[in-house]
C-alpha cells in the first residue's frame, strides 16, 4: 500500500471513529435528554448551537463566493465553482447535524411545514436553509453532468444566491428580534451575520485549497493559484469589514450606560482579552488582518494558511462569545434559582456533537474530492 493510500485510510478511520463517537452521544441525547449538555434554563443555547451558526454561515459564505462565477459570470473563478458548491452543501449538512442534536424533539420537525409560523425568524431560517440545501444539491448535480449555462442552471444559481443573502439575515434576526436582550444589538446583528458568513466562507476557501494542494503534493494548479490571490483579497476585505463592525460594537459597549450592557460587559470576555478587546478578536481577527497586510507574508502560502486558519477558529469563538454572553444572566424569577452569572464549559456530549458535525462535513469533503471531480470547469 502506498504512503498516500495508507494516509487516506488512516484519515477515513479517524473520521469513522469521530462519527461513531458522535452517534453514541446522539443516541444518549435522544434517550436520556439534553441535561447531558452543560446548558440550563438560563443559558439554554450552548456549543452545538454556536457550531450550527458557524457552519451554516460558513456554508452561506461559500455559496456567495460560488455565485461570483455562477451568477455574476466571472469566468476566471469557474475552476472553483463546483468545489465551492460542494463544500457549501457538505458544510450545511454539518450545520444541520449540529442543530438536529440541539433540538429537544427533532422528530416534530415536520410541523415546520405542517404548521408554519411566518412571523418566526427561526421558521424562516429553517425554511431558507432547507431550500438552499435542496437548490445547492440540484445545482451541484447540474454542474456534475456538465450543465454550466442552461436556463435551469442559471435559475438554480440565482436561487441559491438569494437564499445565501437572506439566510444569514434570518440567523441574525433570531437574536436581533429578541427585544428583551438588547445586547444582541437588534437588527444590526443580521448585517454582522452576513459579514461573518463572507469572512468564514472566504477563510475556508483559502485554507481548503492550500491544504488540498499540500495533500496532493503537486501544489496549486495554475488556474486555482491565480484565483487564490483574489480570494486572499476578498478574505482581507471581509476581515476589514468585520473589524470595523467589531470596533464600533466594542466602542458602543464601552460607552453605554444601559444596565443590560453594563452587566453584559462585565461578563463578555469569556476567553479573556486585553482592555475591551476579546482574545478571539485579537488573535482571530486583528492578527490575521495584520498578517495579510504585510506583503511578504500575504503572498506566501504559509502566511495565508496561518491567517485563514486563525480566522476559522476565531469566527467560531466570536459566535460563541456573543451567544453565551447574552445569556449569562438569569431573567426575572430565574434569578431565584440560579446564580448571578452562569459559568459555562461544554460537556463531553456537546464536544461530541461538534465533533460529529465537523466529521460529517469532513467526510463529505473527502468523498467529494475522491469521487466527484470537483475541479471541473466548462470549456469555452
Amino acid at each position: 500500500m502506498s504512503r498516500s493510500k495508507s494516509a487516506y485510510w488512516i484519515w477515513m478511520g479517524l473520521l469513522g471513529v469521530a462519527i461513531l463517537a458522535g452517534l453514541v452521544a446522539a443516541f444518549q441525547l435522544f434517550t436520556k435528554g439534553h441535561y447531558l449538555f452543560n446548558a440550563n434554563d438560563v443559558l439554554m443555547w450552548s456549543l452545538p448551537l454556536g457550531v450550527y451558526i458557524y457552519l451554516a454561515l460558513t456554508s452561506t459564505g461559500l455559496t456567495l463566493l460560488a455565485s461570483l462565477p455562477l451568477v455574476f459570470g466571472i469566468q476566471k473563478y469557474e475552476p472553483l465553482a463546483k468545489r465551492l458548491v460542494f463544500l457549501a452543501i457538505a458544510t450545511l449538512v454539518g450545520a444541520f447535524v449540529s442543530i438536529g442534536l440541539e433540538l429537544g424533539n427533532v422528530w416534530h420537525m415536520f410541523y415546520i411545514m405542517l404548521s408554519p409560523n411566518l412571523s418566526s425568524p427561526i421558521w424562516w431560517m429553517g425554511f431558507i436553509y432547507s431550500v438552499e440545501l435542496v437548490v445547492l444539491a440540484v445545482k451541484f448535480w447540474r454542474l456534475h453532468v456538465g450543465d454550466w449555462h442552461s436556463p435551469l442552471g442559471k435559475v438554480l444559481g440565482h436561487a441559491s444566491f438569494l437564499a445565501a443573502i437572506v439566510a444569514p439575515l434570518m440567523i441574525g434576526s433570531v437574536f436581533g428580534l429578541t427585544e428583551s436582550r438588547v445586547t444582541y444589538f437588534g437588527p444590526v446583528m443580521s448585517i454582522y451575520c452576513l459579514m461573518m458568513a463572507i469572512l468564514s466562507g472566504a477563510a475556508l476557501c483559502l485554507f481548503y485549497n492550500l491544504v488540498l494542494a499540500r495533500i496532493g503534493g503537486s501544489g496549486l494548479s495554475e488556474s486555482i493559484y491565480a484565483i487564490q490571490d483574489d480570494m486572499a483579497r476578498i478574505f482581507t476585505w471581509a476581515m476589514g469589514l468585520v473589524i470595523v463592525f467589531t470596533l464600533v460594537k466594542v466602542a458602543i459597549e464601552s460607552a453605554t450606560v444601559i444596565p443590560d450592557f453594563l452587566n453584559y460587559h462585565k461578563y463578555a470576555q469569556i476567553f479573556g482579552g486585553i482592555g475591551n478587546l476579546n482574545t478571539e478578536v485579537i488573535l482571530g481577527l486583528l492578527l490575521p488582518f495584520v498578517l495579510m497586510a504585510i506583503p511578504s507574508i500575504r503572498s506566501t502560502d504559509a502566511g495565508r494558511m496561518l491567517a485563514s486558519g486563525l480566522v476559522l477558529v476565531g469566527t467560531l469563538a466570536m459566535h460563541m462569545e456573543i451567544l453565551l454572553a447574552g445569556q449569562s444572566r438569569p431573567i426575572g424569577p430565574k434569578a431565584e434559582q440560579y446564580p448571578d452569572y452562569i459559568q459555562y464549559f461544554p460537556s463531553i456530549y456537546e464536544w461530541l456533537v461538534m465533533l460529529l458535525a465537523v466529521a460529517v462535513a469532513l467526510l463529505l469533503y473527502t468523498l467529494g474530492e475522491r469521487y466527484l471531480k470537483l475541479e471541473a470547469a466548462p470549456e469555452h
Partner: protein, 241 residues
Amino acid sequence: MPRYAMVIDLQRCVGCGSCSISCRSENNVPEGIYWSNKITETSGTFPNVRYHYIPTLCNHCDNAPCVRGCPTQAMHKLENGITMHDPDKCIGCKYCEFNCPYGVIYFNWRKPHPFWRQQDALIEGGTSSPAEEAKKAGGKVIPYYNPERAETLPGIRPKGVVEKCTFCDHRVKKGLLPRCVEACPADARIFGDISNPNSQVSKLLGKFRPFRLREQLGTDPHVFYIRDFNPAHYQPTKGGV
C-alpha cells in the same frame, strides 16, 4: 369572548408561596420547573433595608414574543387571551424561553419527575421504592398526579419540550378559577375578564394605579400588580443639608 387577566394585590400578598405549591400539584409540575414563581429583592443598606416580594407567572401577553417566535405555532394564543403551548408540535428549540422577557418558560431537560421513577428502595426490604409508591397511589409517575390536567395538555409533559403556566385553562374552561387564585389564603390574586367593565379585575384596575413587568417592551402583559405591602411609617420631615 372573554379576555382573561389577573390582578395581584401586593398589599394582600404575604409571600407564603401557596400559589406556587398549589400550582405545582394542580399541573404536575416537575422539580426545577416553576410555572408560578417569585422575584425577591432587597433594597437599602443595613440597617435601613426592605424586602420586596413579587409573585410571577406567565403574563399571557397580547403581543407575546414567545408566540411570535415559535416556528411551529406550538406556542399559540387562545381566543380568551391565554397563551397556550402544544407539546405535540414543540420541536424543543427553546426560542420561546430565549425570547420571553419574564423568565417564566422552562425546558424539560430530562424525563420529568426523575425521583418518582427510581426503582431502588432506600432500605432494601424495608421501604418501597419511589416508583412503587407512585404505583400504589395510582398516580401516573407521581403519587399526587392530577388527572384533570390532562384534559387540555399532556398531564406530564415529556422531555425535550418546554412548559409554562396556562392560567389553568382546564379549570377556566369549566368555570373554575385558576388553582393559584383559589389557593391564595390572602385573596391577593383576582382573576377575571378584563374586557368586561363590571368584572372585579376591571374595577380594581380602575381604582388603583397598576403596573406590569417590563411594560416598556410593548408585550402588553395581562398580569397586573396593584398596591404595595408596606406597613412602615415615618415622621413628617423635610430632610436637611
